[in-house]
């Protein structure tokens, strides 16, 4: 009986010791895997890797042109964005637009960016709490009147201060951009064509939802 008790005690002690040792090893490994908490700002900066370079392709609706958006690495709080066009005939991408952007307000390629004939694209970005829409020719030429690019929102708000642009959805024709608006008071406003041939807005009787 005494022997049995002693044997049980020995097994219990060994098992307890192994369990304790296991827990100690496990907890020490966890500590090793954790990122040390530090107030060293240089180290924090090291850990925060700058945004990687990205490249995204957008195919035109007829499949005959490709817009490539290249976002460079973030350097001193700036990301250089480059836009290139390649056509079905000439597959070598040609740079058509470049901009140094704030990483929090990068230019994006919206749906329906290409004009139906692939002659123009429009791009979207945010500035001063407003969505801006910039139009560029895909052959790198001027839009006319020695203007390289045109920004729709600022032109619209200057001409029609009673309305605000809610969205620019696409192209109503080869040189007509569909613009939706609301009134300043927040009521649903009309849709407009932005006519690239003369940089004018045409108010429409029906809204393009």
């Amino acid at each position: 009986m005494e022997k049995h008790r002693s044997k049980f005690f020995t097994i219990f002690t060994i098992a307890g010791s192994l369990l304790t040792a296991g827990l100690v090893v496990l907890s020490s490994m966890r500590v090793k895997n954790e990122v040390p908490v530090t107030s060293d700002f240089a180290l924090e900066a090291k850990l925060k890797e700058p945004a990687k370079e990205t490249t995204v392709d957008y195919l035109s609706p007829n499949g005959k042109a490709t817009l490539t958006m290249k976002n460079g690495k973030e350097l001193k709080g700036v990301i250089t964005q480059t836009f290139l066009i390649a056509s079905e005939e000439d597959k070598t991408p040609v740079e058509i637009f470049k901009k140094d952007s704030n990483p929090d307000y990068l230019i994006s390629v919206p749906d329906n960016s290409f004009s139906p004939d692939n002659k123009y694209i429009f791009l979207k970005y945010e500035e001063a709490g407003k969505n801006r829409y910039i139009v560029i020719r895909t052959d790198g030429e001027d839009l006319g009147k020695d203007i390289e690019t045109i920004e729709i929102e600022s032109l619209f708000s200057e001409k029609y201060p009673d309305f605000v642009i809610t969205d620019v959805t696409g192209w109503g024709s080869y040189s007509l951009i569909v613009v939706n608006s609301d009134t300043k008071e927040g009521k649903t406003g009309p849709s407009w064509w932005f006519d690239l041939s003369n940089f004018s807005f045409i108010r429409l009787s029906s809204r393009f939802n």
Binding site: L59, N112, D117, G170
Partner: protein, 241 residues
Amino acid sequence: MAKKSSKGRSASGRKVRKFPFLFFGFFIAVIGLGFFILKKSFLELPCANTLSCEESLNFSVNNEEQAVFSGQTLTPPKIDLSLISDEPTVLGSQAVSSNKRIEVDLTTQTLKAYDGDKFFMESRISSGKMFPTPTGEFTIWRKIRATKMSGGSGAGYYYLPNVPYVMFFSNSEVAAGRGFSLHGTYWHNNFGHPMSHGCVNMKIIDAKKLYEWADPPTTADQKQSLPGETGTKIIIYGKAP
């Protein structure tokens, strides 16, 4: 007394003479009203493209013609007929599969295609704005590589040669002659938003992919499907924004 009786006869005689004219006038009015109702209900069924529906729904390529849309004169993309071959290769299914279906959601302005449970493609579309796209279950009754579509009037007039990859659909309620179709679109790029006169507008690359997949099959030139072939089912549902 004699005078009175003479007057009475005369009045009643006039009434008798007036009655056939009144009756005839009433008869004409009823016939006219009936014809008007009949014309409105049956003879003037709304058509996807009011002018081209009356002309034809056939294959046509007009590379030299200009298009008109939204008051603008446009140059349509040329369709290269030299690609036409006499080889009897068939696009679509050799043996028509009854499992293919195309679903068009008007609410989200999207199209999805499946072969049974197998997903084939998805694309954004533009459904009817000027006239609603009909909802229900349809079948493609004809595929045409290109055709001309025209209609509207005044500022809404449009003339569109070389409309590519046209898949006409119909059912027992929406007759084939009304010209509703899925087709490629070169005159606008506002997909995801209603833009059409009742048809389902698609990007050209998406329409091409769907045209080559959907039934009825076409010959290698893709010119058109053969008459009498059963086409892929199209289910259109939802409400356009």
